[in-house]
């Protein structure tokens, strides 16, 4: 699995947000993007996932060498991309367990594998539920409907564990989590992490990176990556803020 972002420019309603993002992420790696509000971090995640509100004006996003920008969001997902939403959408009336099973089966079908029946799927889901420390009554509710902020984030991670993507993009998964929930989510992500997949985390806070250790840390500002380093860069940011960096790169 390899994701290459090359000179990516994107706009919403003709307002440019991304102005030349370059980033390469390979299997077995964990990357983190930090940056001030409005720097384009969440836009980057939505553009990669194919949100229709954004227009790519220049550049490419290659997944295993294939430009995915022309693909519908579901095709990107079926090829192994997963976005854990910053604000997971509530879908009243859609039963969480059915939703998860249908999504899982859609992926199996895409890869030419036999689908699971509800009983077989139940075995799989129980094991994943335990990893995010959720009760099974949680499956009987509607997707994210009436969930607390922390439950929504855990539901995103549950979906990630079930769909087992090659590339996971976690958009501020840590925001809105208390210390216990953060630990649970981080443990689940660390369990998921393998030499066969890659993770990109977008976060405001260094504290997440104490739990999920990144191999690379990038700082985004004004729609591009202005600095890259290892986990020590995050510690520096925690200590000094973004100002010094913004000034030093002009």
């Amino acid at each position: 699995m390899k994701l290459e972002i090359k000179n990516l420019h994107a706009a919403i309603d003709e307002t440019p947000i991304l102005s030349g993002v370059n980033l390469t992420i390979s299997s077995g790696e964990v990357h983190a993007i930090m940056g001030p509000n409005g720097s384009g971090k969440s836009t980057l995640s939505k553009v990669i996932a194919g949100h229709p509100a954004y227009t790519v004006t220049e550049g490419e996003v290659l997944l295993n060498g294939e430009n995915i920008l022309e693909l519908a969001p579901e095709e990107r997902a079926l090829k192994g991309l997963f976005l854990a939403f910053q604000y997971p959408t509530e879908i009243p009336g859609v039963h969480n367990a059915n939703f998860l099973r249908l999504a899982y089966n859609a992926k199996l079908k895409y890869h030419g594998k036999p689908e699971l029946d509800p009983l077989e799927f139940d075995e799989l889901i129980q094991e994943k539920l335990a990893l995010v420390e959720m009760d099974s009554d949680f499956l009987e509710r509607s997707v994210n409907h009436g969930f607390s902020g922390g439950e929504k984030k855990r539901n995103e991670i549950l979906q990630m564990l079930v769909l087992n993507p090659g590339f996971a993009l976690l958009d501020e998964t840590d925001s809105g989590l208390d210390i216990d929930a953060l630990r649970i989510v981080a443990n689940a992500v660390n369990t998921f992490k393998s030499p066969d997949n890659a993770i990109l985390m977008i976060t405001h806070y260094q504290r997440l990176l104490n739990h999920i250790i990144p191999d690379f840390v990038h700082v985004m500002a004004n729609g591009k990556i202005i600095q890259s380093g290892d986990k020590d860069l995050a510690l520096q940011l925690e200590e000094k803020g973004y100002e010094w960096l913004l000034e030093s790169v002009g």
Binding site: T89, V94, H95
Partner: protein, 234 residues
């Protein structure tokens, strides 16, 4: 003249009524009685329903409309005692030139009663939904809690939904609300589903079924809600 269906004190009844011709149904639920009734309406029909609720009564009534032409539902509920709970809900999927008119009229006579109205419509082609809901709270009916929702999902350019909520409140310590929405499928919800691997068509389908399932989920399991889902699932 039809005699009202009597629900005796402290008893529970569950009933399904198929409506394929004009009908008038009255029920009087005595103190502490509980009544669950499901109407399944079709064709070119008018259904008049009137419920009289005594102290501590519980009413759960659901109106499903399918394959109608031009149909009308007149719903009247009288809250004659304290501690009453009434839950009224309905779902319709209207296509072609179909038109469904729903009039609800709730009269809260006594204090401490609860009512929820939850009516949803899916409107396709040139179909029309009209919903008029009147909640009347008498001056004695303090602590009334009466909420009304009418949600319309329009899937075509020419479909129409008309919502006319009306509150007449003569008591000063009550909670009454109404909310009507008219909208299309939500782009954020669709994107969320697509990002999980569902095609646009599958996502739309899931969202339409979810919109309806909020009502079907209210139907008690003993009445086999799946049987009625199939009437509206395309």
């Amino acid at each position: 003249m039809l005699h009202p269906h009597l629900i005796e004190k402290e008893t529970e009844h569950t009933r399904v009524v198929q409506v394929d011709q004009d009908q008038t149904i009255e029920a009087h639920i005595k103190a502490g009685g509980s009544y669950t009734i499901l109407f399944v309406q079709s064709g070119n029909t008018t259904l008049n329903t009137r419920f009289i609720l005594d102290e501590g009564a519980t009413l759960k009534a659901i109106w499903i409309s399918h394959h109608i032409e031009e149909a009308t539902q007149n719903i009247q509920v009288e809250f004659k005692g304290e501690g009453i709970n009434a839950n009224l809900s309905g779902i319709a999927r209207l296509t072609g030139q179909q038109k469904l008119t729903t009039h609800t009229h709730l009269i809260h006579h006594q204090p401490n009663t609860n009512a929820t109205q939850f009516f949803k419509r899916i409107i396709e082609d040139q179909a029309v939904s009209e919903f008029q809901g009147l909640v009347h709270v008498k001056s004695e009916a303090q602590k009334t809690d009466s909420n009304q929702f009418n949600h319309n999902l329009i899937l075509s350019d020419k479909g129409r939904a008309i919502a006319r909520p009306q509150l007449e409140i003569f008591a000063d310590d009550v909670k009454c609300s109404h909310g009507a929405t008219v909208g299309q499928l939500d782009e954020e919800q669709r994107f969320y589903l697509q990002s999980r691997g569902f095609s646009e068509d599958q996502a739309n389908h899931i969202l339409i079924q979810g919109f309806m399932d909020e009502i079907f989920d209210i139907i008690p399991a003993q009445l086999d809600p799946a049987k009625y889902r199939h009437l509206l699932y395309a």
